[in-house]
Symmetry: C2
Subunit: 410 residues, 2 copies
């Protein structure tokens, strides 16, 4: 791989998904040759769950035809289940000889991964095998391919107890037999909060091992919660629109709040809302992927881990922002997660900033844009799908609205 080359051949695994689709379009617009691979499992899960994207996303082939019309660029598509069809994945890699593989192809909802024994097992088997197959196939191909993986801030656990979360590696001191203190740098001790997040912790170990044994070039991006839905490319034509999940399993917190406000549903906060989370706008997420493509680690470097987030916020503060903006009420429901009611979170994200990321932070304009999307497609809403019904243990109750909200700090 010539790292100085301007245009690269890039396979995007999971290219039909919420992050994969706008990333594929951006990279194609920039002149890279993009090949999408997807098993379309996110669409299947929608069918099985009776849910749907709030926005009317088009079938893959129509999406790709529209993109070619709009941009003049072709994106090819292979329908492959990388967790199940290793030989087809390997053939695609050997034939395409990509410079870069971006790996989004995992089941990515924490509540979905906690819903039942079947879905816990699906999530673990699917995600671990998907990642391991990509690694095995790169080794077997003998090609020098830069693998970029979408991880999650969730591998760090909930909260940081006064320690600024570094980018993947932690400096520690340990005592030797002789009583000396020696410095070491280790993978940040993982503490995932759901079966889904756990699979991303397992991925980290797979990357660590294959990087060490086979000298693979790997970038692992620990992403925060994505909000927003449009990028310049997905806005170029109605047929290119990105998916927008509002259901209790796949809808992420800020988008859910904005959508709830748009359709007149109370803004449902889990627990006290004292949980602090890391966020990033979809436009920055796509920009980060672009930066990761442009800055591969050197051959022989350890796994490059970057925190892909731009700000941290308490959930209750987001709810209040949305409430102020829209006039909607806030309702508290029990927290389905097993975590402390309140936490703090400090995160280092200097690597992307140093590479030129200028963060799109939370602002009313972009929040209202999401609200307008939600209003525009409100007719597509299934209100029954809005509440989160998954719980982390059998003892917990799904989050029904417990009491009307009275918030003096609104």
């Amino acid at each position: 791989m010539t790292t100085g080359k301007n245009y690269k051949k890039i396979i995007v695994l999971g290219g039909d998904g919420f992050c994969g689709w706008p990333t594929s379009l951006r990279l194609s617009r920039l002149g890279h040759e993009v090949i999408m691979i997807d098993n379309l499992s996110r669409r299947r899960i929608d069918e099985e769950s009776g849910t749907n994207s709030l926005t009317p996303i088009q079938p893959v082939d129509m999406r790709l035809r529209a993109w070619e019309e709009v941009s003049g660029n072709q994106i090819r598509f292979h329908h492959i289940d990388i967790a199940e069809e290793y030989d087809r994945l390997l053939s695609a890699i050997c034939e395409e000889k990509p410079d870069v593989i971006i790996h989004f192809a995992e089941q990515r909802s924490a509540p979905y991964s906690m819903k039942s024994s079947v879905l816990k097992r699906y999530t673990v088997s699917n995600n671990v095998n998907a990642t391991h197959h990509v690694l095995c196939a790169i080794v077997e191909s003998g090609l020098d391919i830069h693998l970029i993986h979408l991880g999650t801030m969730g591998v760090y656990g909930y909260g940081s107890e006064g320690v600024r979360i570094p980018e993947g590696y932690l400096d520690i001191e340990v005592k030797t037999d002789k009583g000396d203190r020696v410095h070491q740098q280790i993978l940040y001790p993982t503490n995932p909060g759901s079966v889904y997040h756990m699979t991303k912790s397992l991925d980290q170990l797979l990357f660590h091992y294959y990087n060490k044994n086979d000298r693979l070039r790997i970038t692992d991006l620990h992403q925060g919660i994505v909000w927003g839905t449009h990028t310049p490319e997905t806005q170029a034509d109605e047929r290119l629109i990105n998916r927008f999940d509002y259901d209790g399993d796949y809808g992420t917190v800020l988008n859910r709040f904005l959508m709830q406000a748009a359709v007149g549903h109370p803004i449902t906060v889990h627990g006290t809302g004292g949980q602090t989370r890391a966020f990033i706008h979809i436009q920055d997420s796509v920009r980060c992927l672009q930066l990761a493509v442009d800055h591969p680690p050197e051959l022989g470097d350890r796994v490059l881990i970057m925190n892909q987030m731009t700000e941290t916020r308490r959930v209750i503060d987001l709810a209040r922002m949305v409430s102020r903006l829209t006039g909607s009420e806030i309702a508290f429901v029990s927290n389905p997660r097993k975590e402390a009611a309140e936490n703090e979170l400090h995160v280092d994200n200097h690597k992307f900033i140093a590479k030129g990321l200028v963060p799109v932070t939370l602002n009313e304009g972009l929040m209202m844009e999401v609200n307008e999307i939600a209003q525009k497609y409100a007719y597509r809403t299934d209100y029954l799908k809005i509440p989160a019904r998954s719980t982390w243990t059998k003892e917990q109750q799904p989050g029904e609205i417990q009491r009307p909200y009275v918030d003096n700090f609104k």
Copy 2:
């Protein structure tokens, strides 16, 4: 589960294997009710590889009939592939309602796990799903079951760089935002040396998560390299004999040396032999399992991790001991592993010692016993299977004998 109860109902997953079989017999002899579950994959791998146990092990049903004749105790057997047949595993657990499940049911050879892409993928998928299925099934059963898992010293990596390897958890100091140093206790940073060892690192994270989220009682035993083959129970009748692997994939180092000496093959040392490893005799391994059954962690405790090893030795020192004992020559072959030529290893094992383990350390009597077994069954040897042919990367050469041995320190 009444922890004070003397006799327990125990499911042994992988009960037909090298550690599982003598453990099942010991627990049965002690009066526990033992149910073995196995998919017989180790026998299948032998068939596929053209290898065989040096000792003439009997089919499972004959083993169990012989045990009933000898001991008067019945061990029941279910032929279940726990990585593939979740529903049958769950049914067995719900019907048997065991107090304890001992989990040996994983592919356990490092060289086998490195042989090809197919076997890397088999090892990861089989081992991760096997362990995850057991955890899911325990949660789904709603029963309070003590899970005991056979892990490996290999999760710690090769060597310890002056730090005494603790029992699973490491005390560290980290700096906070304010510059204070705070103490934390973390899972020892994992650094597995093969795909097989990596799966045991993945297992650790699964245990950590399910212990945290579902309060499962879990004991994880990080075992050293087992040597020897007989226990009092497997010696009680020829039909109860334990397996003895001497091939390049499944044969473990000391047993291989003794067997090589017995059949007149040079003792093949990988690399310089400067690698230090942790060892345990099979009788102590079985005794440790017995102690783990007797000392479950309390409900709500974190995962109990114990180092199941009794001594550390340099490989070259073992080779010299065997050479002195038998008069055999030593031959050096290239090391198929990716590791430093020389290392040191200090390991804490006080938990088992405190529970009453009196280690069987390396001694000539027991080593000669293994040598005699090897001599007795030498007629069953396939000499072509003795060398290790697996390598950790494509660039490495399989370990052919490179030069005759001249060792002034013999």
